[in-house]
């Protein structure tokens, strides 16, 4: 591959400690321009910590990071944004009481005028925010509506539209599709494909194999803060990815447990029917 030499973003032997918790342990990772890297791993594996380190939220305890081959040290997320790295955080980084437009341009406000009369160009900002939201399939009635009044999925779409709009070189998405409907999720996947076509490096976290497999070029598996390796898509099947995500064996045992649960439920409804004469004596059903 021609692009193999040009890595857009790279981590070299990065570790991150929180007190005595080792959240990341000696991670090395390379994402090229025009490549989608999918991060896989259990809850608490360190995926969010990894991308927060890349986006300047955390400073690495050890190791180096590079953008386009140049070493970078981000003092804050603002520096990462300046370097062209835009992130959709798992918690979305939205302010509920602020309007859609204010959230969309938070920290990157478009201005007109000069000197002390420099002001936000609200017309332009509203127009862009509405247009970008329309592209993702949400049509905004009123861009001055507080984000707190949006549904969870709509809110996620604001965060994604914002990152896509501002991501110049690297786009990082931490479980962006977790709250989305089928239509919006497919739009997000199309966005990822488009970002790749535009030559961005994309890092994408999801627990959904149907979202991960179609768009990813490579998969990196994290477990308890360490990397278990990076696999190119042509070297791995959808089932293998699924196994890596869920730990394979666990799904099989889950099947067995579900069957068990259904039997229990059947028994419980039988018993509650038979004990109808003694209310309050039923079997609890809420143990799942």
């Amino acid at each position: 591959m021609m692009s193999e030499s040009l890595s857009m973003i790279e981590m070299r032997n990065v570790s991150k400690h929180f007190g005595n918790v080792i959240a990341l342990n000696d991670i090395s990772l390379k994402v090229h321009a025009g490549e989608v890297m999918c991060l896989l791993g259990d809850n608490g594996a360190g995926k969010s910590t990894l991308i927060k380190t890349l986006s300047g939220v955390h400073k690495p305890s050890h190791g180096q990071m590079f953008v386009e081959g140049r070493e970078i040290r981000f003092k804050s997320p603002a520096y990462a944004l300046d370097a062209g790295i835009a992130t959709v955080f798992q918690d979305l980084a939205m302010i509920p009481l602020m309007s859609i437009t204010r959230n969309f341009f938070m920290g990157r406000e478009p201005t007109v005028g000069w000197g002390p009369f420099k002001r936000i160009d609200w017309h332009y900002a509203d127009r862009i925010a509405m247009a970008e939201m329309a592209k993702i399939g949400i049509d905004v009635r009123d861009p001055s509506q507080p984000v707190g009044t949006l549904s969870g999925g709509e809110r996620q779409c604001v965060a994604i539209a914002r990152a896509v709009y501002f991501g110049a070189k690297v786009l990082i998405l931490d479980e962006p599709t977790s709250a989305l409907g089928v239509k919006q999720a497919s739009v997000v996947l199309r966005y990822i494909a488009k970002a790749r076509a535009d030559g961005l490096a994309v890092i994408f976290i999801t627990h959904n194999v149907h979202h991960a497999y179609p768009v990813a070029d490579a998969f990196t598996l994290l477990k308890r803060g360490s990397s278990l390796g990076t696999f190119r898509k042509d070297a791995i099947s959808r089932e293998e990815v699924l196994n890596m995500m869920a730990g394979g064996a666990e799904l099989e045992s889950l099947d067995a447990e579900l069957a068990e649960f259904q039997r229990d439920q059947g028994a419980a409804s039988d018993s509650s029917a038979s004990s109808a004469a003694h209310p309050g004596n039923g079997t609890p059903l809420t143990s799942g």
Binding site: S55, V57, S76, P77, A78, L81, D82, T87, F89, D91, L92, A93, M94, I95, P96, L97, M98, R102, F105, M106, G107, R108, E109, T111, K118, R119, I120, W122, G137, D139, R141, D142, S144, Q145, P146, G148, T149, S151
Partner: protein
Amino acid sequence: MNTMTQTRSPNGGDERITAIPFWKKALRRPELGAVAGTILVIAFFLVAASGTGMFTPAGIMNFLEVSAQLGILATAAALLMIGGEFDLSIGSMVGLAGIVIAIPTMEYGWPLWAALLLAFACAVLVGWVNGYLVNRTGLPSFIVTLAFLFILRGLAIGLSRLLTGRTQIGGIAERIPGDWFAALFSGEVGSGLFAWLAAHGWIGTNFAGNPVVTGIPVSIVWWLALTAIATWVLLCTPYGNWIFASGGDANAARNSGVPVRRVKISLFIFTALSATVFASLQVMDTGSADTIRGLLKELEAIIAVVIGGALLTGGYGSAIGAALGALIFGMVQMGIFYTGVNTDWFKVFLGVMLLVAVLFNNFVRKKAMESK
């Protein structure tokens, strides 16, 4: 909630809302409660204090001046509260700033402008230290600035006694004439206009033929100017957006690239500066400084800001609301005097008003967040 369960039309349009009614937009403004409160208070005193001279030009200037002094503090306190922090050291800063103006002038023969500059420099330092400690320790600003409430008051009293042997320093009035900087904090504006109005019989004149109101006290000009600037900053500038963001969720703001620490430090500096403006106006007006000046002003400023619709938890509020809060405060304080009710009742009235304002704001905000 009922609007959320319906579906979108298939063509991508949204039939759930045809147009946003004006009143729902108005409900979203933080100062709505304060507007209603202002109208209520004016109506109340128009009746209760009718014929007492409260609403004559001179009476209006009277309560406006009270409102203006508090309003100057409230504007800065509003920005800070929207930015998610409190400054309880404002009142003590007023006392300290007065001393810092008076001692060099009266004891060491400094020109007034130099002493004023020194006071403003001290304010920048105090604000910076407050902000730095809050940022650095992550402690609630309530605690950090409470410490400075005592430290600054103690410094004012201690320094004053150490250097002059007194806690009151007078005689500053005669140093004002001819001082370019002091001129910003003393006297009246628009005397020509008022003389003209009086000459045309638009406002009354006293026995000597002078207008009953000779001009707008400079404190009112400061108040209006600061409110206008703060409103402009909040609504129209990136920095204003950063203030809302920092107060709404500091972490989310930082992750979105907002320089939260810088915003907060600058806001603490602004509150200390506003306290110094207040002190300068008071020193020029009375010709003296006193170490106990500004007592409880931090709480009065917070009351005005909250009446103005700001959220104590940050991220929501307005400078216009704070100005209206200060206006209500001034009107009630002076109005009680005009109505002849024992002024002891002022504090009861104030407390009740604060409670009503908070309840009303709470109600309005819930409505606003429901109305999509």
